[in-house]
């Protein structure tokens, strides 16, 4: 500060400038910090005319925050403003001493881990309960035909189909092409080119179509369902349904679950065709194998049970996706940012569940 002049004496006197707002205050604090001696300092406020709330707060806390520093010649305007300002914190923030964290650092760490673990376990319990509830709600709905908005199931089917059909077909075609190209080379070494049909057909129907379709459903349908239900929860629309005597877990979830159950078989059939078509194209280009020969060869190994198992698996994945998405959507917090977080979590949860369930199927089936 150019205007600050220090006078030697028993205590240092710092004359403050005319304009003392937050920016100048920072400079003064810097000066105080850099001060060489540790004798008492007197801040001379006599020139201060312009000030802001930072100045007032600084003045109020001078004694506790800056030991050895005191104020002098505070102009009346500033003193009055400080007195008025200082009363505000008492109103807004009643003294609430923060509870001192107990225990050592590591025990706190383990405590936090244990709490998080328990929260996860509780969430898992709630999720499984919701799964059971949904089965019950679907049963109730199919018997009594009540509690669901008329036509909603159709809407959801179109919506889910519209979201996932094109991308499922495109991606599964590419997956078909990719695995045929990678395996074609190996097969040629053994002179077993013709088995490309068996390989592609089996892998597609049993494994790749269910897995890829499930993952795409998680990313498109699951994310959409969570985003929609979470924003309905945040906007109190779900509460509104409840007090209208409408059960949100039925009204919102049953149409989506029925829709996914009906859409998945169509998706799987299309995806199987797209994936095998990828294999047919590669076989034709690399080995000159005729499509009819490809299909004949494939049908030697693959039969309708492979298709059926792939279908069953995908339906289960679809259910996991929709129930997981609904769970994340309906248990969201109360702020808009949590909608985004819930959507991300829903996709991760769905993909995790799909892979775990797939693994369980693998153990059971083979």
């Amino acid at each position: 500060m150019s205007e600050t002049a220090s006078t030697p004496g028993p205590s240092e006197i710092l004359r403050l400038p005319k304009r003392l707002r937050a920016a100048e205050l920072v400079a003064v604090l810097g000066d105080l910090g850099r001060r060489s001696g540790d004798g008492p300092v007197i801040l001379d406020f006599r020139d201060v005319e312009e000030f802001d709330s930072a100045t007032l707060a600084f003045l109020g806390h001078l004694s506790d925050c800056q030991p050895g520093v005191s104020a002098a010649n505070v102009p009346e305007a500033l003193a009055r403003a400080e007195a008025a300002f200082a009363r505000r914190p008492d109103v807004c923030w009643p003294e609430k001493p923060a509870a001192p964290p107990s225990g050592t650092r590591s025990s706190r760490f383990f405590q936090a881990m244990a709490d998080r673990f328990l929260a996860r376990v509780r969430a898992l319990g709630m999720f499984l309960a919701m799964f059971g509830d949904e089965v019950f709600h679907i049963g109730r709905y199919l018997r009594r035909r009540r509690g669901v908005y008329p036509g909603e199931t159709w809407n959801q089917m179109f919506f889910m189909g519209y979201l996932s059909f094109p991308i499922v077909c495109l991606l599964l075609f590419l997956v078909g092409v990719t695995i045929s190209i990678t395996s074609a080379e190996q097969l040629r070494i053994f002179g077993a080119e013709v088995y490309i049909a068996d390989l592609v057909g089996y892998a597609m129907l049993r494994e790749l179509v269910p897995l890829m379709t499930g993952v795409i459903l998680a990313g498109k349908v699951g994310a959409a369902v969570t985003a929609e239900l979470a924003s309905m929860t945040v906007l109190e629309e779900v509460d509104a349904l409840r007090t209208m005597g409408v059960v949100p877990e039925r009204f919102l979830m049953v149409p989506r679950l029925i829709a996914i159950t009906l859409v998945v078989p169509l998706l799987v059939a299309m995806a199987d065709v797209a994936g095998i078509f990828g294999g047919v194209v590669v076989a034709r280009v690399t080995f000159g194998m005729l499509p009819s020969a490809f299909i004949d060869q494939m049908l030697n190994t693959v039969d309708w049970t492979d298709f059926a198992w792939g279908l069953i698996k995908t339906v289960v994945f679809g259910w996991a996706v929709v129930v997981g998405a609904g769970f994340k959507g309906l248990t969201v917090g109360r702020s808009a940012e949590e909608v985004g977080r819930a959507t991300t979590q829903s996709v991760v949860l769905s993909i995790t569940m799909i892979i775990v369930i797939d693994c369980i199927f693998a153990f059971v089936l083979y």
């Binding site: 509690g147 908005y149 906007l235 509460d239 509104a240 007090t243 209208m244 005597g245 409408v246």
Partner: protein, 249 residues
């Protein structure tokens, strides 16, 4: 007769108690105003009474039987007899205003012919002067219009008790007066019980028979609106520092 009686009722979220040990009664067929400064817990209390937020302690009776938050049947009986107007309306964004108002009818009486539903919806929208906007979606309505539409939805099944969270906030004086008149008409012609959260002193004066004043985590005053004038409690006097009332006296 009291339609709602609360005993030792503590409401809040998780571990945060917002209002402690409330004891009050809401008489049937009258308008009770719930007042208090912003953040005092008016909406929270309403949510608990409407069966959305389990009490942290104590409980309340609705129409003579205790409301059990663990029993779906008990909550269902409660929901069947109440209508709720939410602070921000809470219309379903995916449905038109018409479909929003028709929703409770369709869900509870799927057998009703469409013509009957249509008449009910139009009558409901007309009483909040929203008949002209029936085909609009909530995103195409102003805040006040959404609120009026939501009120039509809360009323369409003629509930016994209507909870309104700030029905007239964000409305101009004329529409707000219209809403007050509607509340009075509901009370007089349908013997409805209304529990209304409001900040509008003029509106309280016009419609309220009873007042619950919340302050500082508890109930500061519960009684007839008419008796407020006699109170010498400083907080009550400040809160209701009113011109109208003195004029009457």
């Amino acid at each position: 007769m009291d339609i709602i009686t609360a005993r030792d009722l503590t409401v809040g979220y998780g571990r945060t108690e917002v209002l402690r040990d409330l004891a009050f009664a809401i008489p049937e067929g009258l308008i009770t105003a719930v007042v208090g400064v912003s953040g005092s817990g008016k909406s929270t209390l309403l949510k608990t009474l409407a069966g959305l937020l389990p009490p942290l302690g104590g409980g309340f009776e609705f129409a003579g039987s205790p409301v059990d938050y663990r029993s779906e049947a008990s909550l269902g009986r409660l929901y069947a007899r109440i209508g709720v107007l939410y602070q921000d309306g809470a219309l379903l964004n995916g449905l038109s205003l018409y479909e929003n108002v028709a929703l409770p009818v369709r869900m509870h009486y799927p057998e009703l012919p469409e013509a009957v539903v249509r008449d009910m919806v139009h009558a409901g929208l007309a009483q909040v002067e929203m008949a002209g906007s029936a085909e609009k979606f909530p995103s195409e309505l102003s805040g006040g219009m959404r609120k009026r539409g939501a009120l039509a939805r809360a009323l369409v099944l003629d509930p016994h008790v209507v909870f309104c969270d700030e029905p007239s906030s964000g409305l101009d004086p004329i529409t707000s007066r219209l809403l007050d008149d509607l509340l009075l008409r509901l009370k007089e012609s349908f013997k409805m019980t209304l529990v209304v959260v409001t900040h509008e002193l003029r509106s309280i004066e016009r419609v309220a028979d009873r007042v619950l004043l919340l302050n500082d985590g508890g109930l500061r005053y519960a009684g007839d609106y008419a008796d407020l004038a006699a109170s010498d409690d400083g907080f009550i006097r400040t809160f209701f520092l009113r011109k109208g009332h003195h004029d009457d006296a």
